[in-house]
Structures are given as structure tokens and as C-alpha cells.
């Protein structure tokens, strides 16, 4: 009879192997890059390939110097353009999130209260646009909003207006684009949360004298809090750094930080500045990302 191996020993090494591969991959390709971005944000522009000076330099025979160039950050904080871009991005993302909530909550609610067959159909209809390319759907709005676009043509034909409205390349177009693209990202987690609700709670409330709107306000809304937060984070955080929609629909006045980063990088070849922008954006967003994580953890804990 051989001595039985302790279960824990067999268990742990097996577990380690399972998660090792994804862990190492993400560590290398997701985390390490941020360290590099941080490093480059402290370096100088160089007319070379790659276009930045190294951080460590040999000075004389045996000394190694680290040059931490804080100019990039100073530049960002003092130049009005960048400050404005950051603030504008947050403002736009925030307003878009609120709009998505106003439009998306009734939709999610409607789907959650529908009969199972209707529900599946409606979910399908919500998910379908999500699977078609974002780029193409944003492009659709170009066609709708331009001067000789569909909306203007229809309004002109109906006689509602006499001159085409200037909608494209305005902040208005950008809001439309963002809300349109991110709506499914709000509806789906919110629906997932509402679907788990016990509708008898509303009936109990009404039985105890609550009016329907009060019942919604006092019961449904608070209980769907996690869904609202999750959906809002899924809209807000990526929207702050959104690039495509401002590039295609927003005009020169729609200054979003994602676009700034892109231009610094591709047009100006200013890698260190772009890196500094990225780091600042990351610092701005990390608290929100942690909030999102904690909301998710709360949701799964209450589900257990």
C-alpha cells in the first residue's frame, strides 16, 4: 500500500498550470506595456527610430544616469489645448452616459418585462447592431447628418426647414454617434440585472398602497442600482478615450483626448507626449475601473 499523496499538493500545482498561461500572457502583453509607456513618457523626443531618447545613459566610464524628463507632463498641464481636451472628454462621456441611461433604461425594462418569446426577439434585435461593425454604423450617421444627407433631405422635402441644418462635424453629431454606438453596452448589463428582479415585489408594494410610479422609484430603481452602475461604467470609461466617433462625426471643436493622443502619435510623431497623455488618461480612469470591478463583485456576491 503506497502512502496517499496529500490532495492539496496535487491540487495546487495543477491549478497553477491552468492559470499560468493566461496570466503570463497578460502580464507580458498587457501590464508590461504600461510600464514602457510610463518610461517613455519621461523621455525626450529624438529624431531617430524609435523617436525617443533612452532613459538610461552612460555618463563617463562607470556611471549610469537616469534622465526623467518631466517636460512632457508640464507641457500637458500648462497647454490649454490638452487641459481643455481632458475636461471636454470627461464632460462628453458623462453627458453621453446620462443620455444612454435615459434612452436605454426603458428599453432594458421593457425587454425584462416582456413575455419570454417576445423577450428573445427583442434581445436579438438589440444584439444584432452590436455585432455589426461600429465603424460602419458611425458611417451611417455621416450619411444621415450631412448637409445633403437623409435627414436634411426629408425635412426639406416636408417643408419643415428651408435650409439644410448644419449637423455633421458638430458636437451634436458626436453625442448622437456616441449614444448610438454605446447604447447596447448599457442595455445588456442593465437587462441582465433587471431580469433577475422579483416582480412580485412591485405587486406587494401596490397592494400596500404604492402608486405604480412610486413603486418604480422606491423599489425597481434601487434594486437595479448595480445594473445601472455597471452599464454606466461600460459606457463612460471607454467613451472618455473614444477616438473613432470624434474623428468621423465631431468637427474641429469636438476636442477629445483620444483624438489628441492619436494625432500626437501619428501626425506629430511625438511619442513621449502621446505616452504622457496616455498615462494621465489612465490615472484619470483607474478609479472608475476599480469602481466597476467592485460593482461587479457585489453583483456576483448577491447572486450567489
Amino acid at each position: 500500500m503506497r502512502p496517499p499523496p496529500p490532495l492539496s499538493k496535487v491540487g495546487i500545482s495543477g491549478r497553477g498550470l491552468v492559470v499560468a498561461l493566461p496570466y503570463l500572457w497578460l502580464l507580458l502583453f498587457f501590464v508590461v506595456p504600461f510600464v514602457i509607456v510610463l518610461k517613455i513618457s519621461f523621455s525626450d523626443v529624438d529624431l531617430a527610430i524609435p523617436p525617443y531618447k533612452p532613459l538610461l545613459e552612460w555618463v563617463g566610464q562607470n556611471s549610469l544616469a537616469i534622465k526623467l524628463n518631466l517636460n512632457n507632463y508640464a507641457f500637458l498641464f500648462t497647454d490649454a489645448l490638452y487641459v481643455h481636451a481632458f475636461l471636454n472628454s470627461v464632460k462628453v462621456a458623462f453627458i453621453s452616459t446620462v443620455l444612454c441611461l435615459l434612452i436605454g433604461y426603458p428599453i432594458a425594462y421593457g425587454i425584462a418585462r416582456a413575455t419570454p418569446t417576445t423577450r428573445n426577439l427583442l434581445l436579438l434585435l438589440v444584439v444584432l447592431p452590436f455585432w455589426t461593425s461600429l465603424l460602419l454604423r458611425v458611417y451611417a450617421w455621416i450619411g444621415l447628418l450631412k448637409a445633403n444627407g437623409v435627414i436634411n433631405n426629408v425635412l426639406l422635402a416636408l417643408g419643415v426647414i428651408h435650409e439644410p441644418l448644419n449637423m455633421l462635424y458638430t458636437p451634436f453629431a458626436m453625442y448622437v454617434g456616441i449614444v448610438y454606438s454605446y447604447l447596447p453596452f448599457l442595455i445588456l448589463p442593465l437587462y441582465a440585472n433587471l431580469e433577475k428582479m422579483d416582480w412580485q415585489l412591485l405587486e406587494a408594494a401596490e397592494d400596500l398602497g404604492c402608486r405604480p410610479w412610486q413603486a418604480f422609484y422606491k423599489i425597481t430603481l434601487p434594486l437595479s442600482r448595480n445594473g445601472i452602475l455597471a452599464g454606466s461604467m461600460l459606457v463612460f470609461i471607454p467613451a472618455v478615450g473614444e477616438f473613432v466617433i470624434p474623428a468621423l462625426l465631431g468637427g474641429p471643436n469636438a476636442l477629445m483626448i483620444g483624438r489628441v493622443l492619436w494625432d500626437e502619435f501619428f501626425s506629430n510623431r511625438a511619442w513621449p507626449v502621446a505616452s504622457a497623455v496616455a498615462i494621465l488618461l489612465l490615472i484619470l480612469l483607474v478609479p472608475f475601473m476599480m469602481w466597476y470591478q467592485s460593482v461587479q463583485a457585489r453583483e456576483s456576491a448577491s447572486a450567489r
Binding site: 495543477g14 497553477g16 498561461l21 493566461p22 496570466y23 500572457w25 497578460l26 502583453f29 506595456p33 514602457i36 509607456v37 524609435p50 434612452i103 436605454g104 426603458p106 428599453i107 427583442l122 436579438l124 434585435l125 438589440v126 444584432l128 447592431p129 455585432w131 455589426t132 461593425s133 465603424l135 460602419l136 454604423r137 458611417y139 451611417a140 450617421w141 455621416i142 450619411g143 444621415l144 450631412k146 437623409v150 433631405n153 448610438y180 447604447l183 461604467m233 461600460l234 470609461i237 471607454p238 478615450g241 477616438f243 473613432v244 468621423l248 483620444g258 492619436w262 502619435f265 501619428f266 505616452s275 496616455a278 488618461l281 480612469l285 472608475f288 475601473m289 466597476y292 470591478q293 461587479q296
Partner: protein, 285 residues
């Protein structure tokens, strides 16, 4: 149910879906418009298929589509492997060293703006090239690695949530009957969660196929994906070929999604009927 409320909800739903679908429908309609201005209907020559012919002979777009396809397939397959391991591990193993980090690393890509992820990965590739000589220049390889990194986060979420509803007694029963943990995973767990893995694959494929920002950062000369080509065209304004591309994409997606859900409903109905029959037979016993 309260009728006023139902009316309100129904109206909201109607407007909501109209909002979602009118842009899509307008793209489809104008793909048949002969005029180069796209949105000005040329009734003399429309509807026409001339832009369809034009698109399907456009070398640039076809090449880009081919590259997108290659990248998307490799990305999806790789992401599924990484994501399933991560999702399974996070769901099954309550405690392990690095759990918090892994959890954070698989949720961050879901919300992080793509410009940040794209920029950081490009800088990594540049640094790696300097230090160890690989990857030599950016292209399909770097782009695929980039896609896999953020796709696997999505697959992890899908697998993890499927595992949450997976009855652990099934795995325990298999071990009780003599199967070692690895065998249990391949014989029992994997076949049962297969639909989730498949939807993870489709999700990863779509994300890669549609991706613009990360591709732009991590790609190189000669490796332009379809979204990159579309973007460069669309920056200049509308283009009828893009409408055609949109229509074709929507058609394919609709067929696949509708097909899959019909198949699932049918499978569900069969299972229901079989269960009902079994219950009747048992009652008669």
C-alpha cells in the same frame, strides 16, 4: 398590468428600436443608389447593383478583407484557449496566488479606451524589437497578438459566467467514478460548456474583424485590415462602396444570428418535448 405604463414602455421600445435601426436601414437602401453622392437618390438610374460589382472587384478592399479574416480566425482561436483557461480558473479556484491580478487583468481590457491599449502594445513591440530583435517590424503577427490580448478578456467573461451556473456536482461525480481532474475537464466540463466557448469564439472573431484602433497602432506596412481601409475612405466623406460593404456585413450577421437562435430554439423545443414525454410516461408507471 397597468395599461398606461405598458403604453409608455411600448412607445419607448418602439422609438428605441427605430433609433437603433433607421441608420442601418438607410445604409442598406442607399447601397442601391446609382448616384455617387450616396444620399441623393438618383431615381433615373436606381436601384442598381453597380456598386456591388465595383466593391467585389476592388483589390484594395478584397486584400484587406483577406488579412482581416486571417487575423480574426487566429485571434479567435488563440483567445478562446487563453480565455477558457482563465475563465475556468477564476470560476473554479477560489484561492490562488495572483488571483486578484488575473481578475484585474481580465476585466481592465473590457473598459479601457483602445487608444491606450493600442499605444502601449505598440511601444512594447518597439522595445522588444530593440532588446531581443523580435518582433521584427510590425505586421500581422503583432496585430494578432494585440487582438488576442483584448479578445481573451471577453472570452474570460463569457466562460466565467457560464461556469457560475455549472453544477460542480457533475465534476465531483466524474472524479468519484475514477476520472482524474484533467480528464474531468476534457470529458465532462468542456463538452457541456461548449456553446459558451463557441459564442466566445464568435465574439472574439467579431471584435477582431471590426477593430480599428488597436489594429492601426500595432499593424505595419502592407498589413492593412478592412476597418483600416474603410476608415481612410470614410474620413473623406461618404462612399457608395462602403454602403455596399455595410449591407453585405449586415446580411451575413443577420443570417448567422437568426440561424443560430432558430437552431437553439429548435433544440430547446425538442428538449422540452422529450422531458414532457418522460414525465407522462413516469406518471403512467
Amino acid at each position: 398590468m397597468n395599461y398606461r405604463r405598458t403604453f409608455f414602455i411600448t412607445t419607448c421600445l418602439a422609438f428605441g428600436f427605430a433609433f437603433l435601426y433607421i441608420p442601418i436601414l438607410s445604409m442598406v437602401v442607399f447601397s442601391f443608389n446609382a448616384s455617387k453622392l450616396v444620399t441623393v437618390w438618383d431615381s433615373a438610374n436606381s436601384p442598381t447593383l453597380k456598386w456591388y460589382y465595383s466593391l467585389l472587384h476592388n483589390e484594395e478592399i478584397l486584400d484587406a478583407a483577406w488579412i482581416s479574416l486571417k487575423v480574426a480566425v487566429i485571434n479567435a482561436s488563440g483567445a478562446v484557449i487563453l480565455g477558457t483557461l482563465a475563465g475556468f480558473g477564476l470560476a473554479r479556484f477560489e484561492q490562488f496566488r495572483g488571483r486578484f491580478t488575473l481578475n484585474a487583468m481580465t476585466t481592465a481590457p473590457l473598459v479601457m479606451p483602445e487608444v491606450i491599449t493600442g499605444l502601449s502594445m505598440l511601444l512594447l513591440f518597439v522595445a522588444m524589437e530593440q532588446w531581443i530583435g523580435w518582433p521584427a517590424g510590425r505586421g500581422i503577427t503583432t496585430m494578432t497578438i494585440g487582438h488576442m490580448t483584448f479578445s481573451m478578456a471577453y472570452v474570460t467573461v463569457v466562460v466565467q459566467s457560464r461556469m457560475a451556473t455549472f453544477d460542480i456536482a457533475l465534476e465531483e461525480a466524474a472524479m468519484d467514478l475514477g476520472a482524474r481532474p484533467v480528464k474531468v475537464f476534457f470529458l465532462i466540463t468542456l463538452p457541456i460548456i461548449f456553446p459558451a466557448i463557441l459564442s466566445g469564439w464568435l465574439l472574439a472573431f467579431t471584435l477582431s474583424w471590426d477593430d480599428l484602433v488597436i489594429s492601426s497602432f500595432t499593424s505595419g506596412p502592407g498589413a492593412s485590415t478592412l476597418p483600416m481601409v474603410v476608415f481612410s475612405k470614410v474620413r473623406l466623406g461618404v462612399s457608395p462602396e462602403i454602403n455596399v460593404l455595410a449591407t453585405l456585413t449586415i446580411a451575413v450577421v443577420t443570417v448567422v444570428i437568426v440561424g443560430v437562435s432558430l437552431w437553439l430554439t429548435r433544440a430547446g423545443k425538442l428538449a422540452e418535448a422529450a422531458a414532457a414525454e418522460a414525465a407522462r410516461a413516469a406518471a403512467a408507471e
